[in-house]
Symmetry: C2
Subunit: 199 residues, 2 copies
């Protein structure tokens, strides 16, 4: 009971954010009301736009408000190298940590039959077709070094070879069982630079 | 560089929330887009409403979207006891931890000359007038046990006596130098229950 039903509603709604419980939702609401109304209004407006307009890029499957994302439509990115990641978070980690200037493909998951995630759900027919078009020379497989990520990597390497494309995998350095998202930048940059040809 | 300018804008805007840095803002944005679009839209709409419509109650100064907040306008709250707190967070903590059923007055700060916070900024003329109207019999002073909170308590006790009102202070139990907001519920409930008459 705060005296304001609308405030109670705001505190409750903030709990949809990951890692935000009742106490921090309350702190966030009070902070916005006391000190950051303008930025709160801006956040509300951007959030509404983002929820309504952001879909997926038709080429790389990453989040995008346009049919073709800004990475895919950029003329300054190399077109002979394609890096496959599980999620937009992993893509962001590689962009921030490495000097990679090629293309991406975002699986939005990993092969996981128990969760109903097969080649179709991950867009692998689309990837396979692209690999067969002849422009791509190297497929950098940057799935996570987990059991499912490794199985996905194995599958992707086969797709690459079938399309006449050289598959590579990030070098050892990424801890086994870890998630790319939590690897420190220098380790990730090193692993990315020493990626190995899969044989 | 995420491939989506709108997504980058959302991640940046989320950083206006307290305790949210670049990495957690990114995690929040991806979480909403991947799994919680409906709740994200709802949050955006509630946040916009709250930033635009929530002001302060004309009687207790707490946050309220109406001229009189729901606590002040409730007919089931006692009218002879008034509890003064520094912030809406402290009010919420007392409501959640104790069985208090009286009125509140929210200073929205504490006496702090160096920060330009004097009796006028805290609405003390308004409080003084209310104390002089004869309805209130006890003023529970629940400012924080910090140096400035104690100085404010001293000032409030004088106001109460001048209005013929009995001033009380929360019992020992609240750790010195601590903030009400972080005290555990049972300690706060105990301290509230054993409040002492100031002499
Ligand atoms: Zn794209
Ligand atoms: Zn009120």
């Amino acid at each position: 009971m705060s005296g304001s039903p609308l405030l109670a509603e705001l505190i409750d709604a903030l709990r949809c954010l990951p890692g935000v419980g009742g106490k921090s939702a309350q702190r966030m609401a009070f902070h916005l009301l006391e000190r950051e109304r303008e930025r709160g209004l801006k956040l509300a407006s951007v959030m509404e736009q983002a929820m309504q307009r952001i879909g997926h890029c038709s080429q790389c499957r990453n989040f995008s408000e346009d049919p073709l994302c800004s990475l895919c439509s950029s003329s300054s990115r190399e077109r002979q190298v394609l890096c496959v990641v599980e999620s937009p978070t992993d893509l962001a980690a590689i962009e921030q940590a490495t000097g990679y200037r090629g293309q991406y493909f975002v699986l939005m998951g990993r092969l996981s039959p128990l969760d109903g995630l097969g080649p179709e759900e991950l867009g692998l027919a689309q990837l396979s077709q692209r690999l067969g078009e002849g422009e791509i020379e190297e497929l950098i497989i940057a799935t996570n070094p987990t059991v499912e990520g490794e199985a996905t990597a194995h599958y992707l390497a086969q797709l690459a070879r079938a399309g006449g494309v050289r598959p590579t995998r990030l070098a050892h350095g990424v801890p086994l069982g870890g998630e790319l998202e939590y690897v420190d930048r220098s380790t990730l940059a090193h692993a990315f630079g020493s990626r190995q040809l899969l044989d």
